[in-house]
């Protein structure tokens, strides 16, 4: 009934998209590709490791589903980075959770990273100049997340002349314009992207729409020799509307104003004010219910870059971040609705940090980057905090061996801006580079990262409805220590490069959930949370060919990622009987091969291949009957792996020879995702055989088969 109806409905919508894939054109952008060996060769001397950079050109070249260029999918091809599979958002770095990545769009934190419930990322590659992923050895100027930092740097608009690029694709069209307002002084950039899947929905004669759009802007003002002002803006929304029954909107708003100032030839400063807002709204008219949730933060940052001499430089500064969390507002939206209006009270927090980072060349072979970050976190009122017996919001039921919600014994009121809880941590950072020869070095790093906000989610990948919870009386900050060592070599005059790294990570205060915890609309989330530990280690190889007609890389990672939630006392069993179990992002093997071949001026070809161990999954060890239901009996969490995940993707780009002599330059990109039509498992389901009282079956759900695409890109 409900299920069948919905499945039909959703399938209907999907076939619309599917038909469109096969009938129309799809979009991927490809500028002329300038292979510059200096971009990819390793800086042997610099005390920086576990960092991967990709330029927007490199990202554009990678073949992707439906030809939608995708920054977050491109980093999955790097060693040590995985995600939960096709059609899921987020990514996992070195065994960390997807909420442990700090996503910075021009240094401003972004919370929701996907369009279409995870199929595409919110970052429009046209507006991006490059990305930089810190997997380890994270400098002291960054903090707030436990696993990684992904910097996404937007382009500055052109200061000389008006330019435009764009593309017409299967799912979306894009246009980016840039140019000077005042030549050599003030420039703008606007980039927009919108999907048009809703057009096809309308053709199916349903009063429904499903689409997304996003807008990026950047303004750059070179005031004088000493001062520059930059403004970055982003606004994106996903909108799904079915009939008058269902209305779902979500997306980000981001703004950043940065003032760079040069005091002397050795000292310059960066001052920024930033705003980031993630909104999620859902209206279910047919049940008379609406839901709003989200997170807002306001951020001030001041940093000084101080070049003391050629061998020694300092970066120091402060950062101050104010959070406003909206865990959920529930309202009846039609008269006579059975739902009571309820606002789960907002939560507020203030995160401050001081940091000092030094980079020093000690002698001809040794250089170091060392620093310290001191972070402070205040959970602030106004809020009523529940009080529990023995300070335990979760109680253990010894009879059923399960954790249950405790009943509060009272509440304590904290007034506006009154401190509810306070945490502070020293986060030391260190990276050392030992040059062995001009082409070869060994690097080591250590970093401690503290994360004060926690994502309340138990799905293996991020969903748009994810809710953030600040540390407070019952939730402690996550702390992760990472140790890494690596060997780096440039070969054959930088034509090739080789990076081998090994890491070990230990984490504490990772949230785990009691069995069957209800996470959405929960008024006292602390009643379903337990504290766990994490451990991850691995070995990564990255071999790149940086020059020539054929460029690309081979990346291989062998890794392990585990977690444990033990009982708080000897009588308690903990989660999974207190034993260590594989995190959802544990992948033993992960191989990526990326190749790009410039065949001629007209044609170039790209390929990527991914092979990964299957995602951990829990299989039942039997079944039983209760109340006419067939119940699978689960025992140990994540005790099996799904089938191996692999696919090969190809694309070919054709640029007309007419392009050379005219302003309008066009190109066609032909792509095939999943060339050999691998049916990768997105999930495995255990269920009753329809119409049978005693038979159960297992089924595999897969998302993308072979997906061809065609895109037209232009610039003028």
């Amino acid at each position: 009934m409900q299920k069948t109806l919905l499945t039909t409905m959703v399938f209907f919508w999907f076939t619309g998209v599917w038909a469109q894939q096969n009938d129309t054109i799809n979009s991927e952008d490809l500028d002329e590709i300038i292979i510059d060996a200096s971009v990819n060769k390793i800086n042997i001397r610099k005390p920086e490791m576990s960092v991967n950079k990709l330029t927007s050109e490199e990202i554009k070249k990678m073949p992707v589903v439906l030809g939608e260029t995708d920054i977050l999918k491109s980093i999955l091809l790097l060693p040590g980075v995985v995600n939960s599979g096709e059609g899921t958002s987020g990514f996992n770095v070195r065994g960390g959770g997807s909420d442990q990545n700090l996503l910075l769009l021009d240094q401003t934190a972004v919370y929701g990273s996907s369009h279409l419930y995870g199929f595409f990322s919110i970052f429009n590659n046209d507006a991006v100049s490059n990305i930089k992923l810190y997997k380890g050895g994270i400098p002291a100027r960054y903090g707030g997340r436990a696993s990684s930092v992904l910097e996404i740097n937007q382009k500055n608009g052109d200061f000389q002349q008006f330019k435009a690029t764009g593309g017409i694709g299967l799912l979306s069209s894009r246009l980016m314009v840039e140019g000077p307002v005042i030549k050599d002084k003030l420039s703008y950039l606007f980039a927009g992207r919108a999907s048009y899947a809703h057009l096809f929905l309308k053709l199916t004669d349903i009063k429904s729409s499903a689409y997304f759009y996003d807008l990026n802007t950047k303004w750059s003002y070179l005031m004088n020799d000493k001062n520059q002002l930059y403004f970055t803006g982003y606004f994106g929304r996903d909108i799904f509307k079915f009939n008058d029954s269902f209305d779902n909107k979500f997306g980000n708003t981001v703004a950043n104003l940065t003032w760079n100032s040069k005091y002397s030839s050795k000292i310059n400063s960066e001052a920024s004010v930033r705003y980031s807002d993630y909104y999620y709204g859902l209206t279910l008219n047919f049940v008379g219910f609406s839901w709003d949730s989200g997170i807002k933060n306001y951020d001030f940052n001041y940093k000084i870059n101080h070049q003391i001499n050629d061998e020694f430089s300092l970066k120091y500064g402060i950062s101050s971040l104010y959070y406003d969390f909206n865990p959920g507002l529930i309202e009846p939206d039609v008269p006579g609705s059975q739902v009571n209006a309820y606002q789960i009270p907002h939560k507020y927090a203030w995160e401050n940090a001081l940091f000092l980072e030094a980079e020093q060349e000690i002698n001809s072979f040794l250089s170091v980057n060392y620093g310290l970050r001191y972070s402070m976190f205040h959970r602030l009122g106004e809020e009523n905090i529940n009080l529990y017996e023995n300070n335990k919001p979760v109680i253990y039921n010894e009879q059923t061996d399960t954790y249950e919600k405790a009943t509060p014994i009272g509440t304590q009121y904290y007034g506006k801006n009154k401190s509810i809880s306070k945490f502070d941590n020293f986060e030391p950072r260190l990276a050392v580079s030992v040059k062995l020869t001009d082409d070869r070095s060994i690097k080591m790093s250590y970093n401690r990262m503290t994360q004060y906000v926690h994502l309340i989610s138990n799905t293996t990948s991020a969903t748009p409805l994810d809710i953030w919870e600040p540390s407070g009386p019952y939730v402690k900050p996550q702390i992760v220590d990472q140790y890494a060592v690596g060997f780096f070599q440039n070969l054959n005059h930088n034509k090739y490069s080789l990076e081998i790294e090994s890491y070990f990570k230990l984490g504490k205060n990772r949230l785990d959930y009691i069995d069957g915890a209800d996470l959405i609309g929960n008024r006292a989330i602390e009643q379903v949370l337990l504290n766990g530990k994490t451990e991850a280690y691995g070995l990564e190889f990255l071999f790149r060919k940086n020059e020539g007609k054929l460029t690309g890389w081979v990346a291989y990672t062998i890794a392990k990622s585990m977690q444990q939630t033990a009982g708080r006392t000897a009588n308690e069993t903990g989660i999974n009987n207190g034993e260590w179990y594989r995190t959802p992002h544990d992948r033993l093997h992960d191989l990526s091969i990326v190749a790009s071949y410039d065949f001629s001026k007209k044609w170039s070809f790209n390929a990527s291949f991914t092979l990964q161990s299957g995602r951990p999954v829990t299989y039942p060890d039997g079944k039983y009957e209760f109340l006419d239901l067939q119940v699978p009996n689960y025992n140990n969490r994540n005790n099996y792996s799904m089938p191996a995940f692999h696919h090969l993707d190809l694309s070919a780009t054709y640029s007309s020879s007419k392009n050379e002599n005219r302003k309008w330059k066009g190109e066609w990109v032909f792509g095939i995702y999943n060339v050999y039509n691998r049916k990768n498992a997105a999930s495995i389901n255990f269920k009753s055989v329809e119409g049978s009282d005693n038979l159960t079956e297992t089924s595999k759900l897969s998302i993308f088969g072979i997906v061809p695409s065609v895109t037209y890109n232009f610039k003028f």
Binding site: T4, G87, V631, K700
Partner: protein, 269 residues
């Protein structure tokens, strides 16, 4: 509320699904464990019994029944013991057992020289006041929509177990009043126009259950894939309220709970 999240969960998860195929997996061997289905609905012969069985292999088509056990229920107030007699196929019944509202009862099962015990209290069920039928419901606006309305008690947390038996399917579900305390609540169903016709009977029943049983059934419904909250966290073994008094580690699965249901039949208009 659970249902609503469920609808949304399905919506998200199936958004782009293109292919589902049956596969055969290689599981660990099942070690049989006692399962006690002690869900009693008073006055309903089909449910006024205790059913004993064991766990079985996932692909097996047979749930092995247990007939060689002693089953009894004690009225805690009077200490009177009702012996339940094996009637075959793992069922144990006693027609003289007619529990009373608000009283506490204790179940005892002796099997393989081990004793299992659990208790339950009978709660007063709500009644269906009326049914709203719409013929333009659902997402697409062309489904049947039925709302079975009942009054929630504002002075307490309430937990409900509902069942719908229609010509095309059977369905158990649980709900609570977290978002709807004190209101006229509704238990809502959608049916395709093809599945029902005018004059068809929808047999609905509702009862009040304990918070413990609600938690238990929520988990059970979720993992059996029939219903449940798609945002709930993954689960290990779901243990009920039955305790092995002889050897605590050798726990039994299942639950003991006594309830009185109110039935309501709606004739499709």
């Amino acid at each position: 509320m659970k249902k609503l999240l469920y609808i949304f969960g399905i919506f998200c998860s199936l958004f782009f699904v293109s292919c589902e195929e049956e596969i055969i997996l290689d599981f660990d061997k099942n070690i049989p464990r006692l399962v006690i289905d002690g869900n009693l609905f008073i006055g309903e012969p089909e449910f006024n019994k205790i059913h004993l069985s064991t766990t079985t292999d996932f692909y097996s088509g047979v749930f092995p029944a247990i007939d060689d056990a002693q089953v009894s229920i004690k009225d805690i107030d009077t200490d009177y013991i009702y012996e339940f007699i094996n009637t075959g196929s793992g069922d144990f019944a006693n027609n003289a057992f007619i529990p009373e509202m608000s009283k506490v009862y204790e179940l005892t099962v002796v099997y393989n020289n081990e004793t299992y015990k659990a208790t339950s209290t009978l709660l007063t069920p709500p009644e269906i006041i009326n049914v709203d039928q719409a013929n333009d419901g659902g997402f697409t606006g062309d489904s049947y929509e039925f709302r079975f309305n009942f009054q929630d008690n504002a002075n307490e947390e309430n937990y409900y177990l509902v069942q719908m038996v229609s010509p095309v399917d059977k369905y158990f579900g649980v709900t609570d009043d977290m978002f709807t305390n004190g209101n006229i609540m509704n238990d809502m169903y959608f049916y395709d126009k093809d599945d029902l016709k005018t004059g068809d009977k929808l047999n609905h029943s509702i009862t009040s259950i304990s918070k413990g049983y609600f938690n238990y059934l929520s988990k059970l419904l979720a993992i059996s894939g029939e219903n449940g909250n798609p945002f709930a966290s993954p689960m290990g073994t779901v243990k009920g309220n039955i305790v092995n008094q002889t050897k605590e580690d050798n726990y039994a699965l299942g639950y003991f709970h006594i309830a009185k249901r109110n039935h309501y039949t709606h004739i499709v208009k």
